[in-house]
């Protein structure tokens, strides 16, 4: 082993790092025969001893207790603010659901009371269906109890906009965040002027 090779190993030797036994042996043998390298090893070992004493003192350093107190307080506050946040959100959802359900009920009631309404001229339902504008129509849902959906020849169609929450009343899925957004619907109006069925047009606002 020469001095340059020894120099690469001197810190590892001084720190007593695990190393190949033959490598260690030849490094130590070199240090015995080279005064400069022996001195370098001695200085490195001295530094190791100094640093170990410093490490021993270092282990006695403790974080102040108040940090834990502050953090646990922050943890509790965070937890309670999340709970309050969730509760408020839930309350808002409940309130919102109640309002939208009322709106839907009123809408449906108004539709059911069709004869009293002065409905505009009707369009033909046949023109909608799955049309070329990418509008997809749902099936017609009867509006009056068990009544069958009347044949379209005997009915007129009125296109209206209803809140999306109305979808729920017919068991259709709805994004709660868009509950009050309008969705276009078509109402089948019988010869007597009464609203008989409704379908929803997806792809129209």
């Amino acid at each position: 082993m020469n001095c340059a090779e020894f120099h690469q190993l001197v810190e590892a030797l001084a720190r007593q790092e695990p190393m190949d036994a033959s490598l260690r042996g030849s490094a130590l043998a070199h240090s015995q025969s080279c005064t400069a390298c022996r001195c370098a090893l001695s200085q490195a070992q001295e530094l190791t001893a100094v640093l170990r004493r410093a490490a021993h003192q270092n282990r006695q350093v403790r974080a102040p207790v108040r940090i834990e107190e502050n953090l646990l307080r922050a943890f509790d506050e965070r937890k309670s603010s999340r709970r309050v946040g969730k509760g408020a959100l839930l309350a808002r959802h409940r309130w919102f659901a109640a309002v939208t359900a009322s709106v839907a009920a009123i809408g449906i009631a108004l539709l059911s009371w069709g004869p009293q309404l002065d409905l505009p001229p009707v369009e033909q339902a046949a023109t909608i269906g799955n049309d070329s504008e990418g509008v997809i129509a749902s099936e017609f849902f009867p509006l009056q109890g068990e009544m069958e959906v009347p044949p379209s020849e005997s009915s007129g169609v009125v296109r209206v906009a209803v809140p999306r929450v109305t979808l729920l009343a017919f068991g259709l899925p709805m994004n709660p965040e868009l509950a009050m957004e309008p969705i276009e619907a078509e109402i089948l109006v019988g010869e007597d002027g009464a609203a008989q069925a409704i379908r929803f047009l997806h792809g129209r606002q």
């Binding site: 810190e11 640093l51 410093a54 490490a55 003192q57 350093v61 974080a63 102040p64 940090i67 999340r82």
Partner: protein, 201 residues
């Protein structure tokens, strides 16, 4: 008889994220001193160490999902946050304090001016000189000395924390120790001369 096993850090972190106060407290107690010491040894300031330790664990409170187990241990994650915070705080302090007008690194001055427990712990000149010498190192060398020498972590653990190869840790430590030795000799020599001066006069 079975011995009750302490929950792993990851398990504690997972439970803390669901609002388990005890899990958070256990995780904090397990790592607080190491994080605090690391910040203290990197900055030389108790105030900074306290601020950094608090910020490290506040990160866990605010962003419990920020830990990625694929990127290393929880301990390495905490040290990593601490390291970033120390650098940020030091930058901020440098910006406000400007360049040092006295001798040596401003960190050394901060350390020397410490008033409380650490002064009690560092009673002898050698220990104070070691601290000053460590603080005089550039941060990349300082952190390997703090981790491998003061915290006595393995090269592999230090590499995990620093996000570098084991060989990089080894070579940085090699250079850091040589630099440290020169600085220490100079500091201790200075102390010796100061002690001898009054006697000569």
């Amino acid at each position: 008889m079975s011995v009750a096993r302490e929950p792993e850090d990851q398990e504690l972190l997972r439970r803390a994220a669901t609002g388990d106060r005890e899990a958070f407290a256990a995780l904090f107690r397990r790592h607080r001193h190491a994080v605090y010491r690391f910040a203290l040894n990197m900055s030389g300031s108790h105030a900074t160490a306290e601020e950094v330790t608090q910020e490290v664990f506040m990160t866990l409170i605010r962003e419990p999902d920020s830990y990625d187990p694929n990127r290393g241990s929880v301990a390495a994650f905490l040290y990593g946050i601490a390291r970033n915070h120390v650098l940020r705080v030091r930058k901020r302090e440098w910006r406000f304090a400007g360049l040092p007008d006295g001798e040596g690194d401003p960190d050394s001055a901060v350390w020397a001016a410490e008033d409380s427990t650490i002064r009690d712990l560092i009673r002898d000149e050698e220990a104070l000189a070691v601290r000053k010498a460590i603080l005089s190192l550039p941060p990349v060398h300082r952190e390997v000395v703090v981790l491998c020498e003061l915290e006595e972590l393995s090269y592999a653990q230090a590499a995990d924390i620093l996000g570098c190869a084991i060989g990089t840790v080894r070579s940085r430590l090699h250079r850091a120790r040589q630099s440290l030795r020169r600085t220490l000799e100079s500091l201790l020599e200075g102390d010796r001369k100061r002690r001898e001066a009054p006697e000569a006069g």
